[in-house]
């Protein structure tokens, strides 16, 4: 915005007088629900109750309601725009709706709930800060509800609101609501969404949508709109890692050459040292230009023009970054892919990969598995059809500069375009590189949320890649999780012995050797268990950077804790091994006499008896020790390392 003003100056007037709201921010959210969950009614209700609907629209809806033979105004008709939707009473494509309150402007990506569901919800979720998932109180948590939650998690949406709708049809009964909350919570525990809020509502009658309902005094929380107005925006913005994909080169004359684009994450200041990828040329930011004058700083999300002190060749598709904070560079990517086209994915066929401002040919080399989005099961697959999601390996013709999607959605996302039809056929979320030795990614990034923005990762004196090259095998962390007595340590010891015999650098960490020293101050409360696993993960990470294959045998009952450790290691280097055995088997084995002690009340908080164990949702390996010997299990682990090309023996 320019700072100078001309006649008609409204400066000095209050925002109320001018109608402008300088502090108003913007929340993008997506709504997900099945055909009859009342999603359109909810949106209609939000628009209606926030007075975002104009009289002529209301008249049109009243007229259309009558035409459809309905005796009251059908709020869903406010949003069901296209003729076919009206006729079939369904929403068929992602539609964007807008409303504002004095606090915030809202953009709703309204995603439909029938067969094309996954593709549309992925589209709507790609830019959302929050997802509203509707559950019909009368029907409970259906398969679709789980699918919505999974996609919310996969697309990295930080906030989820579960709106339990149609409470009016179950007499506003708390028991119905409580059961749905518990049911949903069990599934959501396997996902990575951090902030879930449950709200009982009736979209049709307006309870707890904009105003607090008086008919559910047992519900202590606020209505849906107040959550939408107060949730923190920008939670998925990465403000640490500066990435500037060059969009367009501006060259009005021989004396000016500027690089137009947006700092998609992080920020840069005039005078900062930068590196240009892929050339690797170093230079410095000379100025940050905008139409409204030069700036000292280009902050995340701002469209600017950068100039550099050196005349170097920079073009669209290049990326300007900081020398000590580089993205990963690789040709082969490990990614989740959501297929969006009626023609199935063809493995091995070239597609155009659109990533930041680059367009590169790429093939899908293979499909690791297809995710059953309703059960989270992994199914073997040779292709992906429309609305299917799989984990795949991509090979690009040129190296791609990226971060994992979880850390940076702007540099971790891509789409595939069909070279013949030009259709956008798939959306991808990068997990990491596969097998390629990456350029130095900074390992602290995974826990960047706890690292202050001023901390710059200096890198290891001797990079892990150099150590790996010398020792002839890759570093990895094998994380064995399972209940006490399941056989984690036994298998871990066998695997380590075998690797050691073959000349690998190894280390074995288990609950006992850590709890006697480093973690001697910790007990078994949930908080202490979290801290124990955090320390174990950090220690494992240090050995990992030293080049070791680290075997970690920890009960580690919480999915979140294991996921945090996973985030410390590059993709493909953290191998979660679920060592499975039922309580009866463990109790029968009881190598340390703990089950006996627990059953007599001598131990509280004992996992599997008096404390919960959250099974891994997507372990790399599952070992059922009821049917498999420890030796066979060890072979299975070694074989996995070999197939993943972590070891070559």
């Amino acid at each position: 915005m320019p700072s100078t003003r001309q006649p008609g100056d409204t400066r000095g007037e209050t925002p109320e007088q001018t109608g402008s709201a300088p502090m108003m921010d913007l929340l993008r959210f997506t709504t997900a629900g099945s055909v009859d969950d009342g999603k359109s009614t909810l949106i209609g209700r939000l628009l209606y109750d926030t007075k975002s609907i104009f009289e002529d629209q209301l008249e049109a809806v009243e007229g259309a309601s009558r035409k459809l033979g309905e005796d009251h105004m059908n709020l869903a008709l406010l949003t069901d725009g296209l003729r076919a939707e009206r006729e079939q009473k369904i929403t068929i494509d992602v539609a964007y709706r807008y409303f504002a309150t004095p606090r915030r402007k809202f953009i709703i990506a309204d995603t439909p709930g029938h067969v094309q569901y996954t593709r549309n919800m992925v589209t709507g979720a790609s830019t959302a800060d929050l997802a509203v998932v509707l559950v019909d109180a009368g029907k409970g948590v259906l398969t679709q509800s789980r699918r919505h939650a999974f996609i919310t998690s996969l697309l990295g949406i930080p906030h989820m609101i579960v709106a339990v709708n149609k409470m009016d049809l179950v007499d506003f009964a708390q028991s119905v609501y409580d059961e749905i909350v518990a049911d949903f919570g069990r599934f959501a525990a396997r996902l990575t969404v951090k902030d879930i809020t449950y709200i009982p509502i009736s979209a049709l009658e307006g309870d707890n949508v904009v105003e607090r309902s008086t008919r559910m005094p047992w519900y202590q929380g606020g209505p849906l709109l107040s959550k939408l107005e107060t949730v923190a925006v920008g939670a998925r913005t990465n403000s640490i890692d500066f990435r500037f994909p060059v969009q367009y080169v501006i060259r009005p004359n021989q004396t000016f050459r500027g690089y137009a684009g947006v700092a998609v994450s992080g920020s840069v200041a005039a005078g900062d040292d930068v590196v240009v990828l892929p050339s690797g040329m170093a230079t410095r930011i000379k100025s940050i230009e905008t139409f409204d004058g030069p700036r000292d700083l280009a902050d995340v999300g701002e469209s600017v023009v950068l100039t550099t002190t050196d005349e170097i060749d920079i073009s669209r598709g290049d990326m300007i970054v900081r020398p000590r904070n580089l993205p990963a560079v690789a040709r082969r990517l490990d990614a989740y892919l959501c297929w969006m086209d009626a023609t199935d994915l063809a493995v091995g066929r070239p597609y155009l990969l659109a990533h930041t401002t680059r367009r590169i040919q790429a093939i899908v080399k293979g499909i690791d598995y297809r995710v059953n989005v309703d059960t989270l099961h992994r199914d073997p697959a040779s292709t992906l059809a429309m609305n299917e999601i799989g984990r795949v390996e991509i090979e690009a013709a040129d190296p791609i500069f990226f971060d994992s999607y979880r850390l940076n959605s702007a540099t971790g996302s891509f789409v595939l375009i069909d070279l013949q039809t030009n259709a956008t056929v798939a959306a991808g979320m990068i997990r990491g590189e596969t097998h390629d030795v990456a350029a130095a990614t900074h390992p602290a990034a995974a826990t960047a949320t706890t690292v202050s923005a001023g901390v710059v990762w200096e890198g290891w004196n001797i990079p892990r890649e150099a150590r790996e090259a010398r020792q002839g095998h890759q570093a990895a962390v094998l994380w064995l999780t399972g209940m006490s007595g399941a056989g984690k340590t036994t298998i871990g010891r066998l695997v380590e012995r075998q690797l050691f015999e073959q000349g690998c650098r190894t280390m074995l960490l288990d609950g006992d050797n850590l709890r006697h020293g480093l973690c001697g101050d910790l007990g078994f409360s949930p908080a202490d268990r979290d801290e124990n696993i955090r320390r174990a993960g950090q220690v494992a990470h240090l050995f990992f950077e030293q080049g070791a294959i680290v075997l970690c045998a920890f009960v580690s009952p919480y999915a979140a804790g294991r996921s945090n450790v996973r985030g410390l290691m590059p993709a493909g280097r953290f191998v979660e091994v679920f060592v499975q055995a039922d309580v009866e088997t463990c109790r029968a084995r009881d190598p340390k006499g703990l089950y006996a002690k627990a059953s007599t009340g001598g131990l509280d908080q004992f996992t599997g008896v008096s404390a919960p164990y959250e099974e891994p949702a997507e372990p790399e390996l599952t070992i059922d020790t009821r049917t498999m010997t420890a030796q066979a299990a060890a072979e299975m682990v070694i074989d996995f390392l070999r197939r993943s090309r972590l070891i070559d023996v």
Binding site: D25, L26, G63, G81, G234, R236, I250, G261, F291, E302
Partner: protein, 301 residues
């Protein structure tokens, strides 16, 4: 790139600039559809920001119905000059003279629908592969599903059933020979956002937007200006009222509203309290409940 705490207008501006730069990078021959209305003025304003210090690398294209208010045309020419933009004008009258379209008859006759043919002819003549427009998704329900990069087939038609998914800010402008795109940088703006931005940036506007005295006839609850192009019916009664226009399209079908709002600040207050959508003043949308969808399928703006 999602949100930051910078407030909604800078975010919308930055998004608009990003979209315009994508257009310049992905297409060979773009043009910005310019009507002299506030939305296309804002798009042109963003374009100047997007490419500064260089000139806007594409022309403004006005499809002139021949039924425009003279003050809009004067403003159009001045604005293009101030913005240092090339202005191209194509006339609906030419399409009529060439027999490409037939003028509607009757009291409700309008040249709005005829623009489609002139536009498609201009796209072909100029070899355009993309036309940038000022449409917003909040204007009309059919637009709520339209992509920012909106594909048009060889006949210039929009297929709402077969749109490309549009994710993150990865815009796919690839097309086959003969096809083209419409791109809408203001997709995520509302009418109020437009006014707030005009106020914050002090953007010049045609005088029609501000309250003035004018001769008016009232038809079906709509206030139409008496111009040489409006055919008066014997039942019409002409009166002078204080009005302004919320859109400045074809004078024969653009309705005025009674208003005393004479500054942008007044208009913002009026808009925030408005109870009628701006398209609610347009006779062509009133023809049927899905009038806009039907026109868009045929290649309308």
């Amino acid at each position: 790139m999602h949100t930051s705490s910078r407030g909604h207008l800078p975010q919308l501006e930055s998004e608009g600039i990003l979209i315009l730069r994508e257009v310049a990078a992905q297409f060979e021959r773009p043009a910005l559809l310019f009507s002299g209305g506030k939305d296309s003025i804002v798009v042109a304003w963003l374009a100047r920001k997007a490419f500064a210090p260089a000139r806007v690398p594409f022309p403004l294209l006005h499809i002139d119905t021949g039924h425009n208010f003279p003050e809009t045309l004067r403003f159009r020419d001045d604005f293009a000059r101030t913005m240092d933009c090339t202005l191209l004008v194509r006339q609906v009258q030419d399409s009529i003279d060439q027999g490409r379209v037939q003028e509607e008859t009757g009291a409700a006759a309008s040249r709005n629908a005829l623009q489609t043919t002139t536009l498609l002819d201009a796209i072909k003549e100029l070899g355009l592969d993309v036309a940038i427009g000022g449409a917003r998704r909040d204007e009309e329900k059919a637009r709520a599903t339209e992509r920012i990069f909106s594909h048009r087939d060889v006949f210039g038609q929009w297929d709402p059933r077969n749109q490309r998914p549009e994710l993150w800010n990865l815009y796919n402008g690839r097309k086959n020979h003969g096809e083209h795109f419409r791109v809408f940088p203001l997709s995520n703006w509302t009418e109020l956002d437009i006014w707030q931005y005009i106020s914050a940036e002090d953007i010049p506007l045609p005088g029609l937007y501000f309250a003035h005295q004018r001769e008016i006839v009232e038809r079906d609850g709509m206030l139409l200006a008496t111009t040489e192009h409006l055919r008066l019916d014997p039942s019409d009664t002409v009166s002078t009222r204080t009005v302004r226009f919320r859109t400045v399209g074809d004078a024969t079908c653009t309705g005025a509203v009674e208003s005393s709002a004479s500054t942008v600040a007044d208009i913002i207050i009026e808009t925030a309290a408005a109870r009628i959508t701006e398209r609610g003043g347009r006779a062509d949308d009133k023809r049927s409940d899905t009038a806009m969808e039907d026109r868009k399928r045929q290649g309308y703006f």
